[in-house]
């Protein structure tokens, strides 16, 4: 099993003050993902 360490990010508060939209906007970094190897069981019924 291989688990990558997830980076810590600050989370902006949800529902900030709405503003009038004036044009393009940039979207910044997205979180990385952690990668994990799985396994199977025999019976899936």
């Amino acid at each position: 099993m291989k688990i990558m360490k997830k980076k810590e990010y600050q989370t902006p508060a949800l529902r900030v003050r709405p503003v009038a939209f004036e044009g393009n906007f940039m979207l910044s970094n997205v979180d990385p993902v952690d990668i994990q190897d799985g396994s199977w069981e025999e019976d899936g019924l």
């Binding site: 906007f25 990668i35 899936g44």
Partner: protein, 601 residues
């Protein structure tokens, strides 16, 4: 968002790390700082190799943004594809921005703060990361650098290897009813989603793909599914056929250790060898629209290999394309029918060229049968069976005939139906036994198979939009033999029924994907005319005529006599009445047609 290759390029990890360091934000800024523009520093290919699980935007990405009136808008990438810092644009936005953005656009719910995951989705290589961001507004409305996308679900990756051609969907399933599709609500801190649990009918996900996907020992296909973060203890998978039935042997569970899912987790499951899991479980049938058809036409061959549990000398062909003539004839040079199957052949039964060896009598090998007759009588042609009762169905039934061997009773609806072992009395091929009548496939296989019913045949009557089987005309090359026929496959719920009379060449994978009925023609003489002696088969490789077990009636038009399916030289399929080739309605059941049995289970 596609990172389709970063998991596959482990060898390039060192290079990728080096590039990432060159572009790293200055010391003192938060890790992964939002104010650093990486788009100029990272080429597409390098960012795609990132083994740290870093996610980058791609050119066709789109996000969902709402305004304060609740309207949903689609923003697409205008700059920054291949990086994790992109510019998104919407040319038609109105009103005032509201506070949440969702990726991908297709998963955004109709109401802000919700996500919707469809129960059915077509398989793609796109990794279905589901993310959300608050929209933090600047004082002037300039939002540059102010959004940060967090994962709100996990992703599970499944790899299927050597997939049988009749498989066309993958199902992720919660055995105790945990919700796996439908509407979810974003949690306030955007670290995940919540939804009702144990919701009836929402505890699965169907990811579908075309027939013949990953056909071959080394072929693989990757299935990717976004899964709500939760510590599942009951997840399982199945591979489905076009009827959405589980393909036997493919149900596999996933232990809790692999399903403690949290947002941003990517679980990579070991490959499943699907053909190995199925083993021999589908050796006896190919399933179309829920009907389990035999994998070959019915044959009587006295010195051939008996089928297990069959009457002596009876069996089904080893391959779907085989028939009496295709074994010996069918070369393109002899059958100039062309790939559209538009020309027909007249062939003669029981010639030296046909006989398997000189020692065999004329009755040792046949696969054109009169309707309702059993044993050698199915080949002999002067002991017709009809019915005085409309819609009489002999499927799975055997009757004892009255009268004499040379003049047996003809009205099968008036005969005594047998039960138990009486139904399977032997009838040697080289002797005349007109004492039984009924379902010859049922009798020959001792109950393992039967004639198709009217409903079975009706499901093959493919027409656009009628929700029945797909039909594709074509031919199979068996060595130099070119065998024309029609291929029927289940039309899954996510596909429109296809009806294609333009012939194509079929492969081994096609043969496995569905029911192939070769154009075996028809014995068109009624044998009461001595000069014909029922030896002439017409329309071989040009027409196909197959019996079902229902005698339609004797009253009017083409509904008279036994129901069959019939496809012509132009690959047009007709259904529901006996051949128009004979003018003697009551004599039509003595014509010789092919039989493709149905598994009797």
């Amino acid at each position: 968002m596609r990172i389709r290759s970063w998991l596959m390029f482990g060898a390039a990890a060192a290079l990728a790390v080096a590039c990432a360091k060159e572009s790293a934000p200055e010391a003192g800024t938060p890790d992964g700082a939002r104010t650093v523009t990486l788009s100029a520093a990272l080429a597409d290919t390098r960012s795609a190799m990132d083994t740290d699980g870093k996610v980058t935007w791609t050119a066709d990405d789109a996000i969902a943004v709402y305004n304060t009136d609740g309207a949903l808008f689609k923003f697409t990438v205008s700059e920054g594809a291949g990086t994790d810092y992109a510019k998104f644009t919407c040319a038609t936005f109105t009103g005032t921005l509201s506070g949440t953005a969702v990726y991908p656009y297709a998963y955004a719910g109709t109401e802000e703060g919700t996500l919707t995951i469809p129960r059915y989705a077509e398989r793609t290589d796109v990794i279905p990361f589901v993310m959300a961001s608050a929209i933090a507004a600047g004082a002037s409305g300039d939002l540059q650098g102010e959004l940060h996308f967090h994962h709100v679900m996990a992703v599970m990756e499944f790899t299927l290897q050597d997939v049988p051609a009749y498989a066309c969907a993958f199902k992720l399933y919660s055995k105790t009813g945990m919700q796996l599709n439908g509407t979810y609500t974003l949690t306030d801190d955007q670290t995940g989603v919540t939804g009702p649990t144990a919701a009836t009918g929402t505890n699965d996900r169907i990811i579908y793909f075309p027939y013949k996907t990953a056909y071959g020992a080394d072929a693989t296909v990757k299935i990717l599914a976004a899964v709500p973060a939760y510590a599942y203890t009951d997840l399982a998978v199945r591979v489905l056929d076009g009827d959405e039935d589980i393909i036997e042997g493919t149900a596999k569970g996933i232990p809790a250790s692999s399903t403690a899912l949290r947002a941003g987790l990517y679980v990579r499951m070991p490959a499943l060898d699907i053909r190995a899991l199925v083993g021999t479980k589908r050796d006896k049938f190919v399933k179309v629209e829920g009907v389990k058809w035999a994998k070959g036409n019915l044959r009587a061959w006295m010195n051939g290999t008996d089928g297990e549990g069959w009457q002596q000398g009876w069996n089904i062909y080893d391959h779907q394309w085989e028939s009496q003539f295709s074994l010996k004839y069918g070369q393109v040079s002899e059958l100039a029918s062309g790939i559209d199957g538009s020309s027909v052949q007249t062939l003669t039964l029981d010639t030296d060229a046909f006989k398997e060896d000189e020692a065999h009598s004329v009755y040792t090998h046949f696969d054109y049968f009169s309707w309702g007759t059993i044993g050698r009588a199915a080949r002999v042609h002067n002991q017709q069976v009809t019915s005085n009762v409309a819609n009489f169905d002999l499927t799975g039934k055997v009757f004892r005939r009255t009268g004499t061997a040379t003049s047996p009773a003809t009205d099968i609806s008036a005969l005594e139906e047998l039960s138990g072992d009486e139904r399977f009395e032997a009838s040697p091929l080289d002797g005349s036994n007109p004492l039984l009548a009924g379902d010859v496939a049922f009798w020959a296989s001792k109950g393992q198979y039967r004639l198709p019913t009217r409903d079975d045949v009706n499901k093959l009557y493919a027409r656009n939009g009628e929700g029945r089987a797909h039909m594709q005309a074509g031919y199979y090359m068996d060595g130099t033999n070119k065998i024309n026929g029609l291929l029927f496959t289940t039309s899954p719920s996510w596909e429109e029924t296809r009806y294609n009379t333009a012939a194509v060449e079929f492969t081994e994978a096609d043969m496995e994907s569905g029911l192939f009925l070769p154009k075996t023609g028809e014995r068109t003489t009624n044998a009461k005319t001595a000069s014909y002696d029922a030896k002439t088969v017409k329309f071989f490789n040009g027409w196909g005529v197959y019996w079902c077990g229902t005698y339609g009636g004797r009253n009017a038009g083409y509904e008279d006599c036994a129901i069959h399916i019939n496809f012509t030289g132009g690959n047009v399929m007709t259904y529901g009445y006996t051949s128009k080739l004979s003018n003697t309605i009551t004599g039509q059941t003595v014509l010789g047609n092919a039989i493709r049995p149905v598994l009797n289970d």
